[in-house]
Symmetry: C2
Subunit: 480 residues, 2 copies
């Protein structure tokens, strides 16, 4: 039956928006999977989909918070277990004492007493306080001369993405408003700018210098855009870099801040990979900013690091020096709050996990040792997997790879491709041949004339040992 409905005109920004990490290559992978092929999903940083286990502590607490009626029972069971040997269970089947007390603490502090009620639009105040303390401690403001985080300027969000969208939606006031983003970038930024109806203004960190950039490079891009009538409002920085894996030096961060100050821009700092650093050291924008007045929006998430709790959609947005608004007594924080209020609040399970990320088990607590063991295992494993993949690249003609420094990705450059073929063709063929689902460099943006791919280094080592030789073989045949 042919539909008799007329075709609808829709929002062109949504029609034109692209989001490669859920684009044609992953869609083809889903088709192949339905046809029975084994797919290795490396197109997205989704650790638990590739076998990474959640931290025991985190899930033990969440489980009790979701069913508080089990807390009293847990206490009784522990006593019974310790006093008798009748139960056919091991000590590890019972939760540590601090899990019980933290769960009770959370339930007592949640304003409505549990996870079933809407929270404040910004998220539970006690969790925002914990996030503020987490930031203060991380950046050692007491000794570094920085400004303590303000819980009223922290928003608990659905992953980091929601915070990014709020900020970009707000910044774009008219269609010549531009936001600078690094190329390559995580496509959330290009998609959000397109959706908001603004202009994406690219700047190009230098691949040959470990993706570094300086103020001059930023100014070049800004000047060119201004000459085209674009009104630049902000600059996005992703540190550690996605997809590049580069970690910014304090000097580069200082350059961004100086640049933003001179040209009166806001800084949007995506810092979700701050725990994923395998060389060098993560330094936050908040720390380098110090008492400076440049507006800063920084995001963090429970999805990455060693938590990998992507599905729970938790994260936060921290605002510093919110600008005043033309023609209004309100400031950015007020308007972000209004945006958050239309979604009512971030989901409470994600809020609880954000709290747990901000307050890991303290040394000496019953959970601490296991927590540290799991954390180290995950981070060491990530690094080992990155090394395996990077080593495989050395056996592929024309594949040059920066990294492994930070984040969860390698972004090798493909210098040799058959005539007429692009990185997209390469990734599609790699998928069809090996089941490895990656995303081509074009999905993130790249300097014209270059070809890359992004791979999340998440598959288990045993799986990598199987598939990497297949990839090397594929590559040999493909580039011929």
């Amino acid at each position: 039956m042919v539909s008799t409905l007329p075709a609808f005109a829709v929002n062109r920004n949504i029609l034109e928006m692209e989001y490669a990490v859920r684009g044609p290559i992953p869609r083809r992978a889903a088709q192949l999977e339905n046809q029975g092929m084994k797919i290795i999903p490396c197109h997205i940083g989704n650790p638990q989909a590739l076998g990474q286990s959640p931290l025991a502590y985190v899930r033990q607490v969440l489980s009790l918070v979701e069913d508080p009626s089990k807390i009293a029972r847990e206490r009784v069971l522990k006593t019974v277990f310790e006093e008798t040997s009748l139960i056919d269970l091991r000590e590890s089947d019972f939760v540590p004492d601090d899990v019980i007390s933290i769960s009770e603490h959370i339930l007592k502090r949640i304003k409505a007493g549990g996870t079933g009620a809407y929270t404040e639009s910004k998220g539970e105040r006690f969790i925002r306080e914990a996030v503020a303390e987490f930031i203060n401690k991380r950046d050692d403001f007491e000794n570094s001369g920085g400004v303590n985080a303000d819980p009223e300027k922290i928003f608990l969000t659905s992953g980091a993405s929601e915070g990014v969208k709020y900020v970009i939606d707000l910044l774009v006031a008219q269609d010549n408003d531009g936001i600078m983003i690094p190329i390559p970038q995580y496509p959330l930024y290009s998609a959000s700018i397109k959706k908001a109806g603004g202009v994406q203004v690219n700047y190009y960190p230098d691949e040959d210098s470990s993706w570094a950039f300086d103020q001059e490079l930023l100014e070049e891009s800004l000047t060119k855009a201004r000459n085209n009538g674009i009104n630049i409002k902000g600059i996005v920085v992703i540190n550690p870099g996605n997809p590049t894996g580069a970690v910014l030096s304090e000097k580069s961060i200082r350059a961004v801040i100086q640049f933003a100050k001179e040209y009166q821009l806001v800084i949007i700092a995506d810092e979700v990979y701050q725990e994923n650093v395998y060389a060098g050291k993560f330094v936050s924008f908040a720390k380098v900013l110090g008492a400076d007045e440049v507006p800063l929006f920084s995001m963090h998430s429970i999805s990455k690091g060693f938590y990998g709790e992507c599905g729970h959609r938790g994260g936060y947005l921290e605002v510093r020096n919110p600008p005043k608004i033309q023609g209004s007594a309100l400031d950015f924080v007020d308007l972000l709050t209004k945006q958050a209020s239309v979604s009512l609040c971030a989901n409470t399970a994600g809020q609880v996990l954000t709290y747990l990320m901000a307050t890991p088990p303290v040394e000496g607590s019953e959970s601490h040792r296991q927590f540290v063991r799991e954390k180290e295992k995950i981070l060491n494993d990530l690094e080992a997997k990155a090394t395996m993949i990077k080593d495989a690249f050395t056996q592929m003609e024309g594949v040059e790879c920066f990294g492994k420094i930070g984040a969860m990705y390698l972004f090798p450059r493909l210098k040799v491709l058959p005539t007429g073929k692009t990185d997209f063709d390469y990734c599609m063929a790699l998928l069809e041949s090996t089941g490895l689902c990656t995303v081509n460099g074009g999905g993130f943006g790249q300097k014209e004339g270059t070809n890359h791919l992004r791979i999340a280094f998440l598959p288990p080592q045993e799986l990598l040992s199987q598939v990497l030789p297949e990839w090397i073989e594929f590559h040999k045949n493909y580039v011929g």
Copy 2:
């Protein structure tokens, strides 16, 4: 220190957007609460914030799904408990067998094996299948001649709100695109249309006829808007009504469908209160639509009904007859999928609860009896509380109240107010005097010259017995 930053120009749509249920009255309530006043939060349908308990079954399952390592233990504990009497616990401290098997079933069906991974953008396929079956069964399509729901046209969303925003963002292609909404309305609609840059076109159900409306009334509003150059794309219907509590007759639903067909509009049907009907009967748009080709977007949520799981942000959007798109081979479902993909996916705890809403315990299962008991208690209690409040209105001069028919709200009309005072003043004064936080009719829109307020009938009966006499006293003094 005065900020030296220049004021920023921001998105005017966000600046002008209003959202009364998180507006000035609730904000004042938060201030008073911080000053030590006891506030009764009736400004929003947030049942668990007012003491409604979550369903035991739902939380028992969620708790095990979040910590799967406890499932084996649960089995052992049950056996030990049944075989010995050494444990100082009651049978009710253990979860029913079907909780264990459903938890295992969910974990087996979740593609990544647990809640920590991103799901498909639309949500887990098995949950979308369960939602489709829920709709098919609810509407008895087999016997009613309707069209079965298609899991590929179902989106699991963060509450119902996210689905509404996706649809409205997509529909508004230019600034004279209009969407019809009932007045009074839930302010999510006015806010989303404003945010998307479209035109809010009001239609006015007739309060004196139990908020009924017919096709003529809709046409009147449409014609007036068209004459002003507005291009109407869709019509929103909230059934049961928020804030009115009215439940649409099949005849009214048919009128909306006929109207949408004639004028080639899409229907956006907010059906989140479908379980909250105290008189009459809920009939869904999908059922009345039958095999008709009018595009229908309908939303449901875990936040309302008897679940009240607001904080977990779960819900779904079902699409029927998605329109084709001008200038594109894609249809609405493709573009909604793209929008969902930029948020990655709805949170997994909310998805699991949506699954449980779609598949309540079956008769004969161990959980069934308790589930039904809890459900009936909650729904009976809601009705009793609505009655208490409605009865109190009869003792207030000039307060006329339609209802209690559906949803969680009463929306009394205030016919007598002191000269110069509005319903906003009344609600503010009521808050300051009694701690009762309501929202004035203006927050939802109302016919010019009328005054109303919305109250969620959620406070415990004991609390109502205390506060209602205070309200009656306040009213006497206020209208004086």
